[in-house]
């Protein structure tokens, strides 16, 4: 479990990126952290793994304080950054040098992941394309079997088939003893993958709710005409009509559209809070 209490953080002491952010993340879920560019998504991830330290407040990850970067903590968490690093080594040498640091690392599982992601090379890893390098690191991160896996913009640099393979792999590797936390601004890439949505904007937590709860509280539908503008949280005109997000007062079933949800939440933070607190 990750428990963040009253987190304040800023690269500049005068301008805080986060102010009194509190958040609780449970094991056994795939979280999608959504936010605009510069909203501080990567910063939040770095606070969780101990690369950045809170200015105020506390971060607790499975009983550890990330700031201390203890080996026993780092064995339980793995960060796949937006830009990955692979040394000038072959796959086998990489396994031999990096795998032993993670007690639950499974070599066979790693090889299977590489197969699934279609990463095959006898050459050194730094000769691979960026997308291939990223898939390699994703495969390694998953095979480390850490309790917490943090992914920062994992689909950046992946082609469309690779994005599909990525979603499939993440879904297949999820279990009750691990938590996967994916930060992205490419919201569509997380469709049908995440079961909990976290939205941050302007250093505030706007939403932390399960996809099921979002479906209960909000309706996502296409209408010919927007009848009540005041009731509409978000509207977007498209070819087939207008996509709208409204409060779900009549227990309607609808499929959550993450892009529309994000716009609805960032445009109406106060109303969203009221709806989800009711």
């Amino acid at each position: 479990m990750i428990q963040i209490d009253n987190l304040s953080f800023g690269y500049n002491s005068k301008k805080l990126l986060y102010k009194n952010l509190s958040l609780q993340l449970e094991t056994g879920r795939i979280y999608g952290l959504l936010g605009k560019n510069g909203a501080g998504k990567s910063t939040l991830l770095k606070n969780m793994i101990g690369l950045l330290f809170p200015t105020l407040g506390t971060v607790n990850v499975n009983g550890f304080t990330p700031k201390k970067r203890l080996p026993s903590f780092l064995q339980t968490i793995y960060l796949i950054p937006e830009e990955v690093y692979v040394p000038s080594l072959t796959i086998d040498k990489y396994i031999n040098l990096f795998g032993p640091f993670y007690p639950k690392f499974d070599k066979q599982q790693f090889i299977n992941h590489l197969d699934q992601l279609e990463v095959k090379t006898a050459e050194k890893l730094n000769t691979l394309s960026f997308g291939q390098q990223k898939k390699f690191v994703i495969a390694f991160g998953l095979a480390c079997n850490t309790e917490v896996l943090l992914l920062d913009e994992p689909t950046n640099g992946l082609d469309i088939p690779s994005k599909k393979l990525f979603r499939k792999l993440i879904a297949s590797e999820m279990n009750d003893s691990r938590m996967i936390f994916i930060s992205t601004h490419q919201i569509r890439d997380l469709d049908n993958l995440i079961d909990q949505v976290v939205i941050v904007d302007d250093g505030r937590l706007l939403l932390n709710a399960s996809v099921d709860l979002i479906g209960e509280k909000l309706v996502f539908k296409i209408v010919d005409e927007v009848l009540d503008v005041t009731e509409t949280l978000y509207a977007e005109i498209g070819m087939k009509g207008t996509a709208v997000v409204t409060e779900n007062r009549t227990a309607e079933d609808s499929k959550v559209n993450l892009e529309h949800l994000f716009s609805a939440v960032t445009d109406n933070p106060v109303r969203i809070k009221q709806i989800f607190n009711s």
Binding site: L51, R69, E83, L97, F101
Partner: protein, 264 residues
């Protein structure tokens, strides 16, 4: 689990550090040794043996050591590499010890072995080339001897190495990019600044000041002769202990503390 030091984990880390960037690490060491060799050969043929020994020894130990020191923590030039290094499950102490061992022990041993070999080889060649029946054979023979590792230059070079390499280790953790150049500039600025301050103070207090070395020595001109004023012996001892032991210890320890507090 021991979160400070574990032998198997440290062995893994050392192996990973040495093999992760072998070309750079070996390349850098080979380059430093090549510079030592060529500077020895060049200065020997242009100036003389003693100068060649001094220049190549200082270049190899201090220059090469500093280069390597700037490399061992040189993970922070890219976001991905820095994150990977800091989040690798090993303790700060192990990561620091690894850097200290590579810079302060492995490189020094390799350099000393290499320098000792080439120095002895060149001296032996020189001795063999002398004519044993020549008039000045004994004089010429004794003129060129292997580099004395307990001499003034060796001691000064060791002091420079521990100070500058320590500064490089700390600097790499403060400056993420082109840290070698930035730290070298800082050291040069500090050295030149302390020289100017010493010179200014000496000129205020003493007449006929010719020159003043940083912190310990002032040259004065009396008529046509030149004299030197040194610090009193007791104070000089304090300064020497400070420069030989205390400042380097603080720098190498500061690297550990900085690594622990490093945000990236």
């Amino acid at each position: 689990m021991n979160n400070t030091f574990s032998v198997p984990r440290f062995a893994l880390l050392l192996k990973k550090t040495l093999l992760e960037r072998p070309m750079q690490l070996v390349g850098l060491s080979v380059l430093a040794l090549a510079v030592v060799f060529f500077s020895y050969v060049l200065v020997k043929s242009l100036v003389g043996f003693e100068e060649a020994q001094v220049i190549s020894y200082v270049l190899g130990l201090v220059g090469g050591g500093c280069f390597l020191a700037s490399f061992v923590f040189g993970y922070f030039s890219s976001n991905a590499m820095g994150s990977s290094f800091l989040t690798l499950p090993a303790s700060h102490f192990e990561k620091w010890l690894c850097a200290v061992l590579i810079t302060g022990v492995f490189y020094v041993l390799i350099f000393l072995l290499f320098f000792h070999s080439i120095d002895n080889l060149f001296v032996e060649i020189y001795h063999k080339e002398l004519d044993p029946n020549g008039a000045f054979y004994k004089q010429l023979y004794e003129q060129v001897q292997p580099f004395p590792y307990d001499g003034f230059v060796a001691k000064k070079a060791a002091t420079m190495f521990v100070n500058f390499a320590g500064a490089m280790l700390v600097g790499c953790l403060y400056f993420n990019k082109v840290s070698f150049i930035k730290v070298a500039l800082l050291i040069a600025t500090f050295w030149f600044g302390s020289y100017l301050i010493n010179l200014a103070i000496a000129k205020v207090m003493i007449k006929n000041v010719e020159n003043a070395m940083p912190y310990f020595l002032v040259w004065i001109q009396v008529h046509t002769s030149e004299g030197r004023i040194e610090l009193p012996a007791k104070i000089m001892d304090v300064v020497r202990i400070l420069i030989q032991y205390i400042i380097p210890s603080m720098l190498w320890l500061l690297a550990f503390l900085r690594l622990r507090e490093k945000e990236f």
